[in-house]
C-alpha cells in the first residue's frame, strides 16, 4: 500500500507513530464513469484533513514504532464524501481495536434560502453552499471543519449547531451498532 510514504515518515522520527490515510475513488463509483488521475489533488487534500483530524483522536502515544494505515475505497458516491470517510474511518478504527479518545462523527450541512439542510447529495452539493463538520463524541467540540463555498456569515452559527445535532444522532446510531456487534461477538465467545 502506501509504504513509500510511511517509510519516509518513519525515517524522520524513528519512534513516532505514523498514521496514513488513503482514499480510493474508482471510476465506477460516481454517477458518470470518470477516470481520475492516481494522485488526485482533491482526494489528497481530503486525506490530509482526515489525517489531521484522526491524529488528535487516536491515542497515538500507545502506538510508538508502528504505522496505522487506513485505506478507504468509495464504492458508490453521492455526496458527503469527507463526512462519510470520517464516519467509516471511526468505525473501522473501533473495529480494529485501536484506542480512540472518542467517536468522531461528521456530516454535511447546506443552506437553501433560509433553510438549513443536513447530509446533502451530490446534486445539492453542486448547487448549494455547504460545510462539512466533524464532532468529537457527545461534546460540542469540532475537530474537523471544511467549507469550500461562500456562506452568509450570520447563518454559519445556525448551520453548525444543526450539524452538531446531526453528528450526535449519528454517534447514537454508531453506538448502537457497535454495541450490537459486540454483544453478538460476546455471546459466541465461551
Amino acid at each position: 500500500m502506501d509504504t513509500t510514504y510511511a517509510s519516509s515518515a518513519v525515517k524522520a522520527l524513528p519512534d513516532a507513530p505514523v498514521l496514513s490515510i488513503l482514499i480510493n475513488h474508482p471510476p465506477f463509483a460516481s454517477m458518470e464513469r470518470k477516470k481520475r488521475p492516481r494522485n488526485d489533488r482533491r482526494l489528497a487534500e481530503l486525506s490530509i484533513i482526515l489525517k489531521r483530524c484522526f491524529e488528535k483522536t487516536i491515542m497515538l502515544q500507545n502506538y510508538a514504532r508502528s504505522v496505522i494505515e487506513v485505506t478507504v475505497t468509495i464504492l458508490s458516491f453521492d455526496g458527503g464524501l469527507l463526512a462519510t470517510c470520517c464516519n467509516s474511518i471511526t468505525l473501522a478504527l473501533i473495529d480494529a481495536g485501536i484506542s480512540l479518545y472518542d467517536y468522531v462523527t461528521a456530516v454535511t450541512v447546506g443552506i437553501y434560502d433560509q433553510t438549513a439542510l443536513l447530509d446533502l447529495n451530490s446534486l445539492e452539493e453542486a448547487d448549494l453552499s455547504f460545510i462539512t463538520i466533524g464532532v468529537v463524541g457527545d461534546s460540542d467540540k469540532l475537530n474537523l471543519i471544511l467549507c469550500e463555498d461562500r456562506l452568509p456569515l450570520d447563518r454559519v452559527e445556525r448551520l453548525i449547531s444543526l450539524g452538531i445535532e446531526g453528528c450526535h444522532r449519528l454517534k447514537q446510531l454508531m453506538n448502537e451498532t457497535v454495541r450490537e456487534v459486540g454483544t453478538d461477538l460476546l455471546s459466541k465467545k465461551q
Binding site: 488528535k56 481495536g97 468529537v136 463524541g137 457497535v178 461477538l185
Partner: protein
C-alpha cells in the same frame, strides 16, 4: 491533551453503576467493592459490561487505569469498544477485536520475515514483529549446546524467510513486542501441513494448544490466531522406562531408518555423526509423503476452522472436532467453502452445544 475535553455522557446513573461492576472473575473482592465504589449501589450484576470509546467508566480517581482506558479531569474513560476487566483496583478494557497482544508463555505460530544479526524477526500478527534470538532455538547437533560463530553464519540453514514455526513467548519488551523461544521439542519449524489464520480473539486460551485430532491429523491453535494443521507425526519414540542413553540412540536410529523423518528426542544424544545429521531434520524443508486421504482430512479441518471463524465462534479443539463431525454431513471438502454451508455448520455447532448445555 488540550484538544479534547469530554462532557459526561447523558446516560442514566444506574447504567454507569452497572459498568463499574463487572462481576470480577479473577478476585472475589466483594468487600472491596463497597470500599472503592464509595457508596455507589451495585444495581445490576452482569459479567460482561460493554463499553465504547469515550464512555465514562468511573469518576472515582482511586481506580488504577489499565489498557484501553484514559484519564481526563479525574475521570476514567474507555478508549476501545470492549468489556471491562477489573483486577483488584486496576481497571482495563479488553477490546472485542484487535491485533494480538503477546503475553509471556503464549504458544504461538509465526512466520520468519527477516534474518538479521543473531536473531530472526517473526511475524506473529501482533503490532510489532517478534524476535527469536539464535540462542533461543534448538541448535542442530545436540539439544543443549551453546551457540557458536558457525551457527551465526548459517542461520539461514536453520530458519529462513518464509519459514513457519511454533514457539513460546519468552518475554516482552517495553514497547510490547515479544521475544520468543523454541527450546523445547514441541516447538520448532513446521512441516507437513497447512497454515490457517483466524482472528486471535477467537482462540480460547488453554493449557495446551497442540492437539491430535481424529483422522490422523494434528493441529496447533496458536494463541495469536495463526494455526497449523498437519499430519500427526508417526513412530513416536517409545518411551521405554528407564532407558539408557544407548537405547535412546538406538530408538532414534531405528526411527530414522523407518521413516527417514524427524522424531522427538532423536537429537537428545549426539554421539555419532548420524545423530548430528538427523538433528538437522528438525529444520528440514522437505515434507513427508502424505496420503491423499490425510490431505483431504487436513483440508476439511482447515475449512471447518474457517467456518468457525466466519461465524465468529470461539475456537478450541473440542469445538473443532465437533465442527469436523458436523461437516462430514455436508458432503465434499470443497463444498465447505460455500458461505451458506459455513453458516449452517456454525449454527449446527451452536445448537448441538445448547442441547448438551455447553457450547
Amino acid at each position: 491533551m488540550d484538544v479534547i475535553t469530554i462532557t459526561q455522557p447523558n446516560q442514566p446513573q444506574a447504567e454507569i453503576n452497572a459498568t463499574l461492576d463487572d462481576g470480577d472473575v479473577e478476585m472475589e473482592d466483594e468487600e472491596l467493592d463497597v470500599d472503592v465504589n464509595g457508596g455507589i449501589v451495585d444495581s445490576a450484576k452482569s459479567k460482561n459490561d460493554i463499553v465504547v470509546p469515550g464512555e465514562l467508566i468511573t469518576d472515582d480517581p482511586s481506580w488504577m487505569r489499565g489498557h484501553g482506558t484514559y484519564f481526563l479531569n479525574e475521570k476514567t474513560y474507555s478508549a476501545v469498544a470492549g468489556t471491562i476487566i477489573r483486577v483488584n483496583k486496576l481497571l482495563s478494557v479488553i477490546p472485542f477485536k484487535g491485533r494480538y497482544s503477546p503475553e509471556t508463555g503464549d504458544h504461538i505460530v509465526g512466520r520468519i520475515v527477516e534474518v538479521s544479526n543473531k536473531r530472526w524477526k517473526v511475524d506473529i500478527g501482533a503490532e510489532h514483529d517478534a524476535i527469536l534470538m539464535l540462542g533461543a532455538v534448538n541448535l542442530p547437533g545436540g539439544v543443549l549446546r551453546r551457540k557458536s560463530e558457525a551457527d551465526e553464519l548459517q542461520m539461514r540453514a536453520i530458519l529462513k524467510e518464509g519459514d513457519l514455526l511454533n514457539a513460546e513467548v519468552q518475554s516482552l519488551f517495553q514497547d510490547g513486542s515479544a521475544s520468543l523461544h523454541t527450546r523445547s521439542l514441541k516447538y520448532g519449524k513446521l512441516r507437513n501441513g497447512v497454515f490457517v489464520v483466524v482472528p486471535s480473539n477467537l482462540i480460547i486460551r488453554a493449557k495446551n494448544h497442540a492437539h491430535d485430532m481424529p483422522g490422523g491429523v494434528s493441529i496447533i491453535l496458536g494463541v495469536n490466531g495463526f494455526c497449523w494443521i498437519y499430519k500427526t507425526k508417526e513412530n513416536q519414540v517409545p518411551v521405554a522406562g528407564g532407558s539408557s542413553t544407548q537405547s535412546k540412540a538406538e530408538a532414534g536410529f531405528q526411527a530414522a531408518t523407518h521413516n527417514g523423518g524427524y522424531t522427538p528426542g532423536m537429537g537428545s544424544v549426539s554421539i555419532t555423526s548420524l545423530e548430528e545429521q538427523s538433528s538437522w531434520d528438525i529444520y528440514s524443508d522437505k515434507n513427508d509423503t502424505i496420503s491423499n486421504s490425510i490431505k483431504e482430512t487436513i483440508s476439511r479441518y482447515k475449512n471447518c476452522l474457517l467456518a468457525l471463524s466466519h461465524c465468529n465462534i470461539a475456537i478450541n479443539e473440542t469445538r473443532l472436532a465437533k465442527a469436523y463431525d458436523i461437516s462430514l454431513g455436508y458432503g465434499d471438502v470443497n463444498s465447505l467453502v460455500n458461505e451458506e454451508v459455513e453458516e449452517s455448520i456454525g449454527e449446527d455447532l451452536i445448537n448441538s452445544g445448547k442441547m448438551r448445555g455447553v457450547v
